[in-house]
């Protein structure tokens, strides 16, 4: 297994978010995680890079138990992971190019020239060529998101974690991002975990789809399997039919 979450429990005060959530992500696959807003998808993703530590259970990446790593070991692991944040999380005081080059500066043996070339290449990949000198405040929401993706892929990571990469984007930009996710997986063999509400994108990019519901995994299967499921909770979610979910609960 490439990424493995096993029986993960996480609560914030009285609010229990994950209640024994388990998931395995195979090497090189793109796994999409679905779930209603507030169901704990982002919380789950943050456990993979050690931004959050489970109350119970464990998370393993390449056989490394994330919550038992030393700080230095955790930083080494994070160099292998690119993280696309829901709201981009670009550094306000830096230009787009500086944002994209931030992760590269932490890598050893990458010269300034290489950083400059890699930044340009990544901006081009997300359709932001010529935007390098702008500040994040001068970008639209979609452009910020694309800059966030460029930053995540700049280090050529082994794993890419996408937190709602296409939410709020226009159809053309969505298609560009979907193609980019596919390219990362198919051409570069990157293992991806994508959180999304967008079923169209999910069907396009996913090798497998999981659904998180009430803190636990409700479904895991291929796009074809999820389309054919009779589970009212999953069906209600993917078809946008709240009555099915209400009847189920």
């Amino acid at each position: 297994m490439s990424i493995r979450l096993e029986g993960v429990y996480k609560a914030f005060g009285e609010v229990r978010v994950l209640e024994g959530f388990s998931l395995e992500v195979e090497e090189g696959e793109t796994l999409v995680v679905l779930g209603r807003s507030g169901s704990g998808k982002s919380v789950m993703l943050k456990h993979i890079v050690g931004l959050l530590i489970p109350d119970r259970g464990g998370v393993w990446v390449d056989g490394r138990h994330v919550s038992e790593l030393s700080t230095e070991e955790l930083y080494l692991l994070r160099r292998e992971v690119g993280y696309v944040f829901q709201f981009a999380a670009l550094f306000d005081s830096m230009s787009v190019s500086e944002n994209v080059g931030m992760g590269l500066q932490r890598l050893e043996r990458v010269s300034r020239g290489e950083i400059r070339d890699r930044v340009e290449e990544c901006l081009e990949l997300v359709g932001l060529e010529g935007f390098g000198d702008r500040l994040p405040a001068e970008l639209s929401g979609g452009q910020k998101k694309r800059a966030g993706i460029a930053r995540a892929i700049a280090t050529r990571p082994k794993y890419l974690l996408y937190d709602e990469p296409t939410t709020g984007l226009d159809p053309i930009t969505k298609a560009v991002i979907d193609r980019l996710i596919l390219r990362m997986s198919r051409e570069l063999g990157v293992t991806g975990v994508v959180i999304t509400h967008d079923m169209e994108s999910a069907y396009k990019v996913a090798d497998r789809i999981a659904m998180l519901h009430m803190g636990q995994r409700r479904f895991l299967g291929t796009p074809e399997e999820i389309r054919a499921t009779e589970d009212p909770v999953v069906k209600g979610f993917i078809e946008g039919r709240p009555e099915l979910l209400e009847n189920a609960s």
């Binding site: 931004l51 306000d92 931030m102």
Partner: protein
Amino acid sequence: MAAGVGRWGGLTAETVRSVKHVDVWSRLLLQQMAKIGLDSVPIAVFIAVFTGIVLSLQASYTFTGAVPLYFVGVLVGKTMMLELGPVLTGLALSGRVGANIAAELGTMRVTEQIDALETMAYPPVAYLVLPRVLAGIIMFPVVTALAIAVGIGSGWITALQLLDMSTPEFVRGLTLFFEPFDVTFAFIKATSFGFVVTTIGCLFGFHTRGGAEGVGKSTTQAVVVSSMAILVLDAFWAVTLL
């Protein structure tokens, strides 16, 4: 209160441990020194000018007829060096620097920029806290020294222009009870104020929760707590060193 002090102690210890990440914090130090020190000079000078004027006039009002007027120089010099220079500068900078740090780091926290730093393998304390704390420790004494000099200067000009004193009279008072330790005392205070203002600003910024309202709350708390800490430290140094 105890939990807050514990968290402050934890952040301070983590800041000291972060010194080893020289490659991360060293390139940000000069930028923070300019932001915390140079940008604070106008407000510090403004306060010092008017403090010097008032000290000079109040000394003259108190001493007239009872104490020789050259004692105006004693009061202006001693008060600016031992008390008002460091404390007023510290309080002004707790508003300007402490609030700025808490708001900046608080915004970074609620917009996941600190999480983003972590995912890119940047130790956030080495990147965000240490350069600010070092800049505070270095620049607060520099700004305070300037404020003391300006305050004494404005007190001297006031004495010449409004109190009919001569320069030799004012300087006589200024040097009469001067001890080199007065300067050391001012620097010890300013350094400690720089440390508490920056660490408290970072602490509240780092632990911000809940969007814009949370940032506002952290900023206010940072200013209030660091101002209180300055007054407590002021008394502490007076009790232990004088």
